[in-house]
Symmetry: C2
């Protein structure tokens, strides 16, 4: 298989973890006789510094030509005081919108030897295995108007959805549930929001196309509670952009392995952008000690969802599990009796397992 | 002191817990020589059944004449399929808006002998003591337009705030912090929403009026994580309506004592509506076994915030703590070596302590 991958290293530890991703992709290519080509492009704070914009046209153009994208992370204190059009996260929001990456997939899974780092009791969190399917290109994030009014005396943002935008993400939720435990929880605030009422209607309409999936509706406030009190009661959660932002970050800390969580942001076809859930960690950037595993698990998602290379994906996932099982971990994690190694060593170990 | 209190029992266990509240208010009145008068009015599902609307005019009128309001709970499966203007929660939203109850105060505190019921590890959650100050009459809940468009092909909700609405709730947050640990966390999504940018500006503007308070800004997704990983790092959180809905419910399950949490919804003056955080619990309604303690702690807030009766408030709070310490609890809680009692018995015990 011949594929072209754009790397968007971004800021902080982003360059370090994307370098690790590229090395592992190369190992996979060699092992399975694929040809992957790479191109690195600027995004986020780095792009602001180099080109005066968080998302250069050249980056967007390259991404549009690619078969898939790996992103490191964007952001850092250096740009925190910038005006909003010159902030690193604008690059991320821009690329999502430009490439129509409307489906954000965030699996949350525990790793047995990391569970001790969870703030939750082991008996509550153990065996959690859920997937948040978040709408990523609509809602409050992009709705217009979003502006000051009356000479700055008031302000509005707009939560806007087309029915078709709701339908396509809801279908992604059902499809994801079909290949998992066949249980979909649709999260909304239908007792208050008109958009949530439409959301609920759409779920009710399309559910007959997925008779093998059990679906229930939950209010966002109830879901925020239940994620903590009973995380194992979820399989797939599907929700709109802002609720998804909040709930997926909430979910990401449940198992104590934030540094291990991958994500995929997909277009209607198999094209996607893959990135670790953790941020740019400016405090440890450039030291070679970042944990590359969330990015490598994101690469596994890339191979599975964009290239349909299931065996290759599984190989990375089991290499990561094996590395942890053998006690190898980066400084951000604690594994009893384990051994602390750096980014390069971890990458080497994963490649050895491959 | 002579005061008039409107009781809004509502649905499910609402009537049982408001009856308990009235008995305890009477005990306080007797002990301290106050005269409290009461009037019970319909709201929620009960009002829908009796008067065809979740908020009869008569209820609103009585509330406007009152010195304070105690609400039980609204909602239940009976009305879940109703069209939205005939749903119980419309009564709650309506009364908040009609009476301008813009400041929702939700203290979250652990009780030592209930902490074992927390999904969080004891070392994470113990000593948590936070207050969420939620804006309650603006934002997505009431912004217009909130409607279908293009023949139902799209939908919008509107997140709208006047600068003055932001300022008054932010000031409530600062004031609350001043009488607590002097630490305010303002939660927004300023990297995405224009309304959040204004929110942050307002906080920066007014903070010089509260030089004794340390204030920081946190993104809502980060706050959703931090509530779980480090709840003790918060003192007062101030945030807009929808973020507050989600975060306060999230926070309510941290300490394992959801059944113990009170809330106050305040107007600009000292007028307020007081209600337990837990819902109507239709499954145990009418059995006399509901836990009245969250409602009684709400009554304590009423005495403190609306009537400035600090001693009376403290007396109820210590009676509740004493009852728990002596092992008395309702069926919803578990206290090691404790004794399960019903609503009436618990009310009696609290009154005995008074
Ligand atoms: C950086 C920010 C704009 C972004 C979001 O809110 O979508 C981030 O929190 C995320 O979840 O990917
Ligand atoms: C019942 C519902 C409309 C209400 C809200 O969302 O405000 C409730 O969840 C609350 O927090 O009081």
């Amino acid at each position: 298989m011949k594929k072209h991958i754009v790397l968007l290293p971004g800021d902080g530890i982003g360059p370090e973890v994307t370098a690790s991703a590229q090395r592992v992709l190369e190992a996979i290519a060699e092992e399975f006789d694929h040809t992957f080509t790479y191109e690195s492009k600027a995004i986020g704070g780095y792009a602001i510094d180099e080109y005066g914009t968080p998302l250069p046209d050249d980056t967007t153009a390259a991404c549009k030509q690619a078969d898939a994208i790996v992103l490191g992370a964007v952001g850092g204190p250096k740009w925190d005081q910038n005006p909003s059009h010159l902030r690193p996260e604008r690059g991320l929001l821009g690329i999502r919108k430009e490439l129509n990456l409307f489906a954000n997939l965030r699996p949350v899974q525990g790793f047995d030897n990391l569970l001790h780092a969870s703030p939750l009791k082991r008996e509550v969190v153990q065996d959690s295995d859920l997937l948040i399917v978040r709408e990523l290109t609509g809602g409050l994030y992009f709705g217009q108007p979003s502006e000051r009014r009356n000479d700055g005396a008031s302000v509005v943002d707009t939560l806007a959805y087309d029915r078709s935008e709701i339908e396509r993400i809801v279908r992604k939720g059902f499809e994801a549930a079909q290949v998992r435990k066949k249980h979909l929880t649709s999260v909304d605030k239908a007792n208050v929001l008109e958009s949530s009422k439409m959301w609920r209607e759409v779920v009710e309409e399309v559910k007959s196309d997925y008779p093998d999936v059990t679906v229930d509706h939950m209010l966002v406030d109830a879901a925020a509670m239940r994620l903590i009190t009973n995380p194992t009661s979820f399989d797939v959660i599907v929700t709109e952009n802002m609720f998804g932002d909040i709930l997926s970050d909430e979910a990401s800390v449940l198992t104590g392995s934030l540094g291990m969580l991958p994500s995929a942001s997909m277009r209607e076809d198999d094209f996607g952008l893959y990135e670790p859930v953790h941020g740019s960690a400016p405090d440890i950037a450039g030291q070679g000690i970042a944990n590359p595993l969330a990015t490598l698990l994101s690469v596994a998602l890339l191979l599975r969802h964009s290239f349909h290379l299931e065996n290759e994906a599984k190989l990375i996932e089991s290499a990561v599990a094996d590395a942890l099982d053998q006690g190898y971990h980066t400084r951000d994690l604690h594994v009893k009796g384990g051994q602390v190694i750096n980014t390069e060593q971890m990458t080497g170990i994963i490649i050895d397992f491959i």
